[in-house]
Amino acid sequence: MKYNYYPGCSLERNAHSYHDSAMAVGTKLGIEFVEVEDWNCCGATEYMSIDKISAFTLSGRNLALAYEQKENGDLVAPCSLCLLNLQKSDHHMQESQELANNVNTSLAEGGLSYKPGSVQSKHLLDVFAKDIDENEIVEKVEKFLYGLKIAPYYGCLSSRPGFDGRENFDFPLRLDNLISLLGADVVDFPLKTHCCGGHMTQISEPTALELIRRLLKNAVDNHADMIVTICPMCQLNLDAYQDSVNKYFKTDFNIPVLYFTQIMGVAFGFEPKEMGIWQEFVNAKEVLAKILDEPPKVPKEKRASKTALPMAKV
């Protein structure tokens, strides 16, 4: 399997471990990611609200470049925001001929053009959670993550508005499913699609800290050992700002936040270090040491009490 790959700026900086682990895991599964030649920044959230046409042109250029190497397959973005910007630009260019013309006028300056709708883009998660057969993943597992309790965190940008008609965006399950293939326990995580605060840390830190606190608390309340994310922004906020949250709210959160590709790597038998683990702020060492050799015995489900009414289970 082959894809075009648009890493985005974060994966060259703070989220290097995301990139490294994704490549390693991909290679193990026989997937080749071909980087889009000469790609540029997606414009993040800010640019869209400052200058729409320029913002659409930024993503339009990435789409045009991906189209030039279309023979490699669909375009994959590991960052939820990059993907959203790609899909948003493509969608609006398809809806508005005028916008498409404007973007193309700009692209022409660089000798490029883009026909809206001609590149299929998707999240890196969908490569591993949808395109690859479940059995292939299980076959590659060398060390099941038995006993590890994981909160699957999708973040808001990967869920809505769902330009590519993805699964239930109110309560997605594909990351949950992938994690359980690796042998880990998925905990109930009701806030799985809630916002991590994004760039709000730069604008109004207290607001961002409250958003982060809610997520950390919800994971801990549901007995998670670790949060697993699919977006560099989410990882950064939950991990790097955990300390600030603790100081601001006088809490004592200490929950590691890793990328899903990193734990896939661990399960596939890579050394944590190769996966960029230990670079995180909240160290995952203690938690990873908890992994058991055998699946934990699930206690037979007992009635909560003599009087309790039975309940349907998902």
Partner: protein, 670 residues
């Protein structure tokens, strides 16, 4: 045959047709240009379907000696019968009258008068050429078997069965569950009058059980249906109850003694328990228990037989097998009801994850005095009374991600719940609704009553229900996140208990059942009616009727009305004794059939049988509805349709092509 003398009648339909088509011009043109085809009379009239219009045809047949009639008006679906009957009154074989649909197919779909007029002329020419090829036909008469099969013993099926049986005709009522009663038997109170469901339902149920004209088969399934209107042959599997019914006196001792207790996902909606040998509820009809083989210890481990030991009459029979019975019936009513939407498919609402989120049917059972909590409204722990309760309307309805339709009963059902919670717990109640829909008799009055009980109504679609507390107040509660669209604000309401008013969905096997009986389903999966407004209880297959929620969500009064309506139709068929069917049928020519069997599976009405001995296909004329699918499909050209012969169709096509459509002016193609 003598020379063709054709009369053409072009209808204005008020301005419906005349507004777009130059009707006088069409009539004049037909007389002038279609004389060679045999047109001797051509007239226009404001309303051909009026008695004046019909008399016009009759008089011309009698006085002008017409032997063919063409009426250019609306769709034959509406008035073909009218004009054929008019022709018949004047002594003309009705099948020598043909319609051209210049309303549905011309005036309603065009705006350009010149083009529309030209197209109307082409349609008339087609009909004229076609009718010239028509032969007189006689309707097919089939005798009607007096017995009726009713499938599904919910309130709709019960009503239908009783109406027919009370008129003195035999009924077979087949119900898949151990007892009749359907969903209504699960409820405590019914809106808007709040009468006790059991009090109004159980008398009907016992009437069915004791009726000399009703052969009740519960714990049974229809396995096969053959035949056609008037003469259906139905095979029914009576699943083994592992009980000799003749010996069982319904004492229920077996049920008490059985050591196996399992969650009852059907009748108790998953919120209560039953034994492995059980009756779903005390007033079950019939009152015999059913042994649930997959859960019975004896069948799993080979020992137990407690029920057998304690049964005072020795009625338990572990060897008992399923029984197959064949019955012959003239008509069939399908009243198979609905399923409740599985709210686990709306994971953000937490059903199946959060203990105190309940489904509507769970709540019905909880309210029922005979239910698992003896009618106490409590949290999942079985003891704590809620102090605050949220009721979420439209859970899975009116939502493109789930079901795009309105389930019609849930607003009223939610109001009923609000009232019951208020009455029994005094809790604070929030109803979350998108739009309030209370259109039935006394329904809005009930809404006002619930408003006066100080229920809070929040207009907005709930986006999420979670136990993720943000502050002290929310700790330990279920938090409903909703946009209050009247206030224009996001709100978070912490509550003890939430009830999801789930959508009504077609039965999981509705597609298979439809196929078995040769009827069709709407895109949502509900059984399709023959006409949504004018014939809501018939189907496109003669002799098969539908009633109750099987055709779409509805309340009890509407389900009962449909049960009665379907019964009335069946009774009228039975009383007539014979049924005249349209002679428009397909026939296989034995000589030309190559035996390839291509047509066999194509027929939507299962009308084609294959004879292995002679290796040819044959069409059953009572089943065939004359759709023409097989005629078109037969590679050997061995099938012809009465009233749709190749000559007739080709003549019509030639007529349609008489005019050149490329030219706006009327040009005759040489």
């Amino acid at each position: 045959m003598n020379k063709k003398r054709i009369g053409v009648y072009v209808c204005h339909c008020g301005t419906n047709i005349a507004g777009v088509v130059d009707v006088e011009n069409v009539a004049k043109w037909a007389l002038e240009e279609l004389g060679e085809e045999g047109v001797v009379v051509s007239k226009d009239n404001k309303f051909m379907c009026s008695s004046v219009g019909q008399e016009l045809i009759q008089t011309d047949i009698e006085e002008q000696g017409l032997n063919r009639v063409v009426v250019a008006a609306c769709s034959p679906h509406l008035h073909e019968k009218t004009f054929r009957t008019a022709s018949e009154r004047a002594g003309l074989n009705p099948y020598l009258c043909e319609m051209a649909s210049i309303r549905e197919q011309v005036s309603w779909v065009h705006t350009d008068k010149a083009i529309a007029t030209q197209k109307a002329k082409a349609m008339v020419a087609g009909a004229v050429r076609r009718v010239a090829q028509h032969e007189p036909l006689e309707p097919i008469h089939v005798p009607i078997n007096e017995a009726t099969l009713v499938v599904g013993g919910g309130i709709a099926g019960i009503q239908a069965a009783l109406e027919i049986a009370n008129a003195g005709h035999p009924v077979y009522l087949v119900e898949r569950e151990p007892s009749i009663g359907g969903h209504m038997a699960q409820f405590d109170k019914t809106f808007p009058t709040l009468d006790c469901a059991a009090c109004i339902l159980t008398p009907r149920m016992s009437e069915v059980g004791m009726h000399p004209k009703i052969d009740l088969m519960t714990w049974s399934e229809v396995e096969n249906v053959d035949g056609y209107v008037g003469n259906f042959n139905v095979r029914i599997r009576k699943k083994s109850r592992f009980i000799n019914l003749a010996d069982c006196n319904g004492c229920g001792i077996c049920e008490q003694k059985c050591p196996v207790k399992i969650v009852d996902k059907n009748f108790e909606a998953g919120i209560g328990y039953r034994k492995a040998i059980y009756r779903p509820f005390d007033q079950a009809i019939p009152n015999y228990p059913v042994l649930d083989q997959p859960n019975c210890t004896y069948f799993i481990k080979g020992t137990c037989k407690a029920c057998e030991k304690f049964c005072p009459t020795g009625a338990i029979n572990f060897e008992k097998e399923d029984e197959l019975v064949n019955v012959e019936v003239g008509n069939i009513i399908l009243a198979t009801g609905y399923d409740l939407y599985d709210t686990k498919k709306i994971p953000q609402y937490g059903f199946g994850r959060l203990p105190n989120v309940f489904s509507s049917l769970e709540f019905e059972r909880m309210c029922n005095a005979a239910g698992p909590t003896s009618g106490e409204i409590v949290l999942r722990d079985g003891v704590t009374k809620p102090k605050s309760v949220g009721i979420v309307h439209c859970a899975g309805s009116r939502d493109l991600n789930h079901n795009n339709y309105c389930s019609s009963i849930c607003c009223m059902q939610s109001l009923k719940f609000a009232h019951l919670v208020h009455e029994r717990t005094g809790a604070t109640i929030y109803n979350f609704y998108i739009d309030m829909r209370t259109p039935g008799k006394d329904y809005d009055e009930f809404y006002q009553r619930v408003l006066e009980e100080k229920t809070f109504f929040i207009r907005g679609k709930v986006s999420e229900i979670s136990d993720a507390a943000r502050n002290e107040e929310e700790e330990g509660k279920l938090v409903v996140q909703v946009e209050d669209t009247l206030l224009g604000e996001q709100r978070r309401i912490p509550l003890d208990m939430v009830i999801l008013s789930a959508a009504l969905v077609p039965k999981a096997d509705s597609g298979d059942v439809a196929k078995q009986f040769g009827i069709s389903c709407s895109s949502n999966g509900w059984f399709s009616e023959k006409h949504p407004k004018l014939d809501p209880i018939s189907t496109m297959t003669e002799g098969i009727f539908i009633a109750g929620c099987a055709t779409g969500p509805k309340d009890i009064p509407a389900s009962v009305s449909q049960g009665s309506a379907a019964a009335a139709r069946v009774i009228s068929y039975i009383e007539t004794g014979v049924l005249a069917l349209e002679p428009i049928r397909a026939t296989v020519s034995e000589e030309n059939c190559s035996g390839c069997r291509i047509c066999n599976d194509l027929c939507p009405y299962n009308a084609i049988v294959f004879h292995d001995e002679t290796m040819v296909s044959e069409i059953n004329h009572a089943l065939c509805q004359g759709c023409g699918t097989c005629v078109a499909a037969c590679p050997a050209g061995a099938i012809s349709g009465t009233g749709f012969s190749n000559e007739q169709i080709l003549a019509q096509v030639k007529g349609l092509l008489m005019l050149d459509f490329a030219e706006p002016e009327l040009e005759k193609v040489p």
